[in-house]
Amino acid sequence: MRTSLRIFFIGGMASYRALFHWLTPWILIPTFVVAPMFELLFFAFVGKDAGVGDNTFYLMGNGISSAAIPCLFAMGNTIANERYTGTLGLLLTSPARRLPLFLGRALPVILNGFCVSVVALGLGALLLHVSIPAGDWLPILAVTAVASFSCTGLGLVAAAIGLRVRETATLSNIVLGVLLVFTGVNVAVNVLPQWMQSVAQVLPMTHGIEAARELAAGRSLEDVAPLVRDEILIGLVFVAIGFAMLVWFEHDSRHHATLETA
């Protein structure tokens, strides 16, 4: 039990450092701060001009969805990068239990996603002159953390696919696009076609973004509890799917030698 906890916390952090140690400030700031800010400002100005929504609408949508960059790409690359460094075989022949081994890698990613969102929300609020009462920020940050968790669940699915295919960044790019369109980041979910609304209900971020907008509009955390609960549930489902896929693809890699041939 103690070994598993150490693998979850210490091992998870060590692997994050091992795989993303190349992220110097010169790469980190443009990727995690500048690019999300351009996206936020672009959609806020276009949307405002078109009369679709106000600045708060775009701040909450884009601020929270900016967590998707680390949550999808960093999580997806936790396996793909092991393949690149030639350590994947060593990882899979270690006796470490797979649950703490793989899920421990999600913890720093969730933290990363949360920090990116917090910076985007803070900077965005300053640039767009969005005024939210100080007391409302804490529940908004709580919802941001939940959205980062659920999106990392989706990233875990991408990580699992990394055991089967060599390149996962393409997939993460497509999923990022899907989240941008379906989850109400810039266009409210209720104006999307019905089938897209149905898809949005099972995607991470949808309920988190809606909850954040409600909180920014003055609702309490209690009022948005069902939305937060759904966001957590979706995250848990994706974590379960991702972990099951990891276990299955690991077995498949031993059976079909896909670590060598994929």
């Binding site: 210490i10 060590a14 030639g86 350590t87 075989g89 270690s94 006796p95």
Partner: protein, 322 residues
């Protein structure tokens, strides 16, 4: 009880080509091999590229499932008891990869110590001990990206030994290392065996196998073609001699003529920078040498020497026709 038991082990790789009318292609990498390794033994698997050495090791370390047959390590089945096998074995392979480049050597070892469940209190002393053993003490806080190939290989060895494995699998560990580094590596491996660790080694270097291995299995085309001590394998060609002739020019076209000489049992050409070395295995060097030189009439020759057969000669003889 043997530490490693391999019975009729097979592994077939299947691949598909083309989207429409896709065709399935099967390659038999390992074709029903059997061998045993005793505790404290250093067992060598020798064979040319693609012979099935690495596939065999990958099955034994639980990275690949056998297509058929059975393998047990320390009494645990590599398929059914994979986790028990993993706890007790170490795996080291050659080459530049397999380390986290941007982390220090120390952090690499710390991470793998966690994965192998080395107790927190034991991690520090164990890592220090291993850094001393592999000669990396004092360099452990440097990033691995700045390490030489030899240093990386020594770090690989330290990583493989963190959890005090009873069995160590070394897959071409000395590949690409300079002679001094390779010698140090051999000394490290010999020291490990002297402490009771069982080692299964694959290598291309015959002198390495000759110097280190208690027993050797020669594998070619996925099958074991010979097994025994280095001395026993050498005895297979001990009744003959080897004539080496340095040739300046193209000796290739004369090979068939040399091979046709009575008493010649094998011919090989080793390419050098400015010359070729014609290696002629004979049953009786004294009688054959003049005839061989006769077939090379008109070709500028250098050194001509006769020597006793080595393990390499035995190896070439064994894998030649497979």
């Amino acid at each position: 009880m043997p530490v490693i038991e391999v019975e009729e082990l097979r592994r077939t790789y299947s691949s598909r080509t083309g989207l429409r009318r896709s065709a399935k292609k099967d390659v038999e990498a390992v074709r029903g091999i059997s061998f045993e390794v005793e505790r404290g033994e250093l067992f060598g698997l020798l064979g040319p590229n693609g012979a099935g050495k690495t596939t065999t090791i990958k099955m034994l370390i639980t990275l690949l499932l056998p297509t058929s047959g059975r393998a047990r390590v320390l009494g645990f089945d590599v398929v059914a008891d994979a986790r028990e096998v993993r706890r007790r074995i170490g795996y080291v392979f050659g080459g530049d990869k397999g380390l986290y480049e941007r982390l220090s050597g120390l952090d690499n070892l710390r991470y793998f110590a966690e994965l192998y469940g080395v107790a927190p209190k034991e991690q520090g002393p164990r890592i220090s001990e291993l850094l001393e053993l592999v000669g990396l003490a004092g360099r452990e806080r440097e990033r691995v990206e700045g390490y030489s190939r030899g240093m990386r290989q020594r770090l690989h060895i330290a990583r493989g030994l963190l959890h005090r494995p009873e069995v160590l699998f070394l897959d071409e560990p000395s590949i690409g290392i300079d002679p001094v580094g390779a010698r140090e590596l051999r000394e490290t491996v010999a020291a490990l065996v002297s402490t009771g660790t069982t080692v299964l080694l694959t290598t291309h270097y015959m002198f390495e196998a000759d110097q280190l291995c208690d027993r050797i299995a020669v594998i070619a085309g996925g099958s074991i073609v010979a097994e025994g001590t280095p001395a026993q394998l050498k005895e297979r060609v001990a009744d003959g001699h080897v004539v080496e002739i340095e040739v300046y020019g193209d000796a290739g076209e004369r090979i068939d003529a040399v091979r046709a000489i009575a008493g010649v049992t094998g011919v090989a050409v080793e390419e050098g920078a400015t010359s070729q070395l014609l290696v002629v295995r004979t049953s009786a060097a004294a009688q054959v040498t003049p005839a061989v030189l006769g077939t090379l009439d008109g070709v500028r020759l250098g050194r001509v020497a006769t020597r006793e057969p080595t393990l390499e000669d035995a190896y070439i003889e064994l894998v030649r026709d497979v």
